[in-house]
Amino acid sequence: MKKVFIRGLLKENPVLVALLGLCSVLAVSNTAINSLFMSGAVMFVLVFSSLIISSIRKIIPNQVRIPCFIVVIATFVTIADLFLKAYFPEISKNLGPFVPLIVVNCIILARQEAFASKNPVHYAVADAFGMAIGYAWVIITLGIIRELLGFGTIFGHKVLGSWFEPWVVMLLPPGAFITLGVIVGIMRWLQAKFGGSTS
């Protein structure tokens, strides 16, 4: 069970290794706070969808399993979206359509298809947590780097003084691509150096 949880963090990281769900990773990681809320929403949806789908995996007909997954996922996405709209209207506005779009986020669908629908509940939940935390640390790191270079702040607090000239590019899509590429490169390099045989 520990193994199931651990692998989502690095070795099978949904963003760094599988490069799934990049749409939200690139779009909302412009500030750390947006990343934090986005990963919270993803974690909520992923864990509960895995829980439900794993527990009803024996009664889902194989031919229509994808629509079944989508219905379950959409239910939790709606809950998350309405919750954010009610309690954090400002952040919900910043995240825009990317919270509703979690419905079609490939990380979540992939975990249901590849894991939760074939494994017992406790494994499915451990896997969901591992993947969600793997998603979270990458997108929050991305958000911190982009916010630091793009605004000179971290979580809204001024870190770099007035001498700092913001790099506008980091707030734009190219900045997201470049930063993510660098992170993927560094992780690959570290893995090759310390992780032994990976590929």
């Binding site: 000239e165 506008v168 590019v169 980091m170 900045g175 470049i178």
Partner: protein, 321 residues
């Protein structure tokens, strides 16, 4: 095997045994020599600060190349083959003369690390590294990258030193600039792009030494001239005349020193003609209908992206088939 024995090995190669006397170093240092006139013109018009900007860009591009090669445990002597020096100089020549030095350094690091070494070093890069560095700075610091100064600004009162480029004047306020000023370079603009005369000198040297193919700059400039001319004939009040198009902005510098980059331009002559025309059309499209007053940087970068396809279109026939 000890080194001594290695040298004694007999080298067998098929005929013909003609060896060209040129190598990477020779080509690169000749290009640096050809860049001297634009550098001198830039320093003459924009002062010693611009020389400092050039030096910073060169130091940081050579330095970052060395660090990158060292980190990847590759041959660090490649950092000193002159190509990084050229990238640094070219980057500085397309920057505003009063750009803060650290921005120039950042652009140089980006140009070398992301524009060149990430692709595998010299000969592997898809895009011209210097222009990629400039594109990054343009996206990162849009205000600083469009703040131009007048030539000889140190003689002017403090509130009169900023200037618009001739292209911006033509596009946004319909003002024309005299041709002689444009030709000599006595106008606002990037550090090394203003003087058409100095660039022509350096470009002609490269053509005479056969380092660049004349078809590339010729088709590029001719396309801009013809298309600009057609538009000017249609409506002379709205569009600038063709001579202005080829003298203003970075067209000359781009044509002779960036479009002709040996790595990022097509191999065959037919391909080069298509490449030059494509880039020329893009310049006119961006200058006339685009949001930016100048389109040389993006035209070359976009044409670079098409280079592999252009090369594939014009594969030469094998001899004898």
């Amino acid at each position: 095997m000890p080194k001594k024995e290695k040298k004694k090995l007999l080298i067998v190669t098929p005929a013909p045994h003609i060896k060209a006397p040129s190598d990477i170093r020779k080509i690169m240092w000749n290009t640096v020599l050809a860049l001297l006139p634009p550098i001198i013109a830039g320093v003459y018009f924009f002062g010693l600060y611009s020389l400092a900007l050039i030096i910073v860009c060169v130091l940081f591009s050579v330095g970052s190349e060395w660090v990158f090669l060292k980190a990847r445990k590759m041959d660090t002597s490649a950092a000193f083959d002159g190509s990084a020096v050229i990238t640094g100089i070219l980057l500085a020549l397309v920057l505003p003369p009063k750009l803060p030095l650290w921005m120039g350094a950042l652009g140089a690091i980006f140009a070398i690390v992301f524009g060149k070494q990430m692709f595998g070093g010299l000969g592997q890069n898809i895009f011209n590294p210097a222009l990629l560095g400039r594109a990054f700075l343009m996206a990162a610091f849009p205000v600083a990258m469009t703040t131009w100064v007048k030539p000889f600004y140190w003689n002017l009162p403090a509130d009169a030193i900023t200037a618009a480029t001739p292209l911006a004047l033509a596009k946004f306020s319909h003002q024309t600039t005299p041709y002689l000023k444009l030709f000599l370079g006595n106008v606002g603009g990037s550090l090394g792009e203003t003087s058409a005369l100095a660039i022509l000198l350096g470009g002609l040297y490269l053509i005479i030494r056969k380092i660049i193919d004349w078809t590339l700059p010729f088709t590029y400039i001719a396309t801009v001239f013809v298309l600009g001319g057609v538009l000017w004939l249609i409506n002379p009040n709205k569009y600038p005349d063709p001579l202005f198009h080829i003298l203003a902005g970075g067209l000359m510098l781009g044509a002779f020193f960036m479009l002709t980059d040996l790595v990022t331009s097509p191999i065959t002559r037919k391909g080069r003609i298509v490449f030059g025309i494509l880039a020329g059309v893009l310049v006119i499209i961006i200058r006339i209908w685009g949001g930016y007053p100048e389109g040389v940087m993006f035209s070359i970068l976009i044409a670079n992206a098409f280079r592999p396809w252009i090369d594939r279109l014009f594969i030469p026939k094998r001899f004898g088939t």
